[in-house]
Amino acid sequence: MANTYTAIATVTVGSGGAANIEFTSIPATYTDLVVRLSARCSFAGITGNLAIEFNSSSASFSRRTARGNGSAASSTSGSDNYIGDIVGNDATGSTFSNNEIYISNYTGSGNKSYSIDLVTENNATEAWQYLVAGLWSNSAAITSIKLLPFSQSWTFNQYSTATLYGIKNS
């Protein structure tokens, strides 16, 4: 039986930082996609806001988000491509966020659902955990994925890495 969890590509941010992390030319030969991201950004705060784009589009996204910071839990919704926060410049040094994005049936003819688990850490009172339910209301197959700032200006720090995996169900 075939191994089905296959690494498609990895991006590692170099010393100059990067405005975004992008996977292009994603083959249509899998059932689901998974992005695993370890990242830190230059935003002057504990965390920076992260967004996702499919096929270079930031339109037709919606989401439900639950988050907890160690003292309280809350939930928000939005018609946007915000997917949670990653560690920012004011968090404990050498600390990177951990993020998994699962996109089911990415070549299907219907709208695309995605699930996100995300944590930031920090050797202080504030750190965050996110659960995100996302939808891209577009019938096109996903051929590219971009991770970038959401309504902020920052860059991914050196040593941030992301790997795209493909999962086949047969």
Binding site: N3, S75, N111, S113, S115, D117, A133, I167
Partner: protein, 160 residues
């Protein structure tokens, strides 16, 4: 490196209320992925093992519905909820990913983790317990009403 994440089976659940996987293979953990799920009515999705319909299951859920976050607990249930009730229209398909750890261990009760994703309803996380030490030999996924579309895929993970 040995293959460790392998597809076991996939079924289309259109017009189906109950799906049972009987051949689980020789793995350490099992992953159940539901993709593109649509439902005509807001029925939750549950899981049970080895056809045990007794009140031997419990689960805890964490829910964010877009305005509030909450948590609840259900004990002595006849199945573990793995996805909460939602209409799951064709325009807003839902998905869930359920992990069943160490499913063939004959010494421990069995635990699961599930993540339910419904951008039109809520984002949810479930933890569940089946109070039985038997190895899991079958997995049944069921809901109170037919799915109108979607697939259930089963994957096996081998420890080294």
């Amino acid at each position: 490196m040995p293959a460790t994440y392998e597809p076991i089976a996939t079924v289309n659940v259109t017009n189906v209320t109950t799906t049972t996987f009987n051949s689980l293979g020789s793995y350490t953990d099992i992953i159940v992925v539901a993709g593109g799920l649509t439902r005509g009515t807001a029925n939750s999705v549950f899981m049970r093992f080895n056809s045990d319909t007794g009140s031997n299951y419990s689960y805890t859920q964490l829910v964010g519905n877009g305005s509030t976050a909450s948590s609840s607990r259900s004990s002595n249930q006849t199945g573990i909820m793995v996805a909460a009730g939602t209409t799951g229209l064709s325009s807003t398909p839902t998905m869930f990913i359920c992990q069943i750890q160490n499913f063939s261990n004959a010494n421990t009760y069995k635990t699961i983790l599930s993540r339910d994703t419904d951008s039109n309803g809520a984002t949810e996380a479930f933890v569940g317990l089946w109070r039985n030490t038997n190895a899991i030999t079958s997995i049944t996924v069921y809901t109170g009403g037919d799915f109108t579309g979607g697939t259930l895929s089963l994957y096996g993970i081998k420890a080294a």
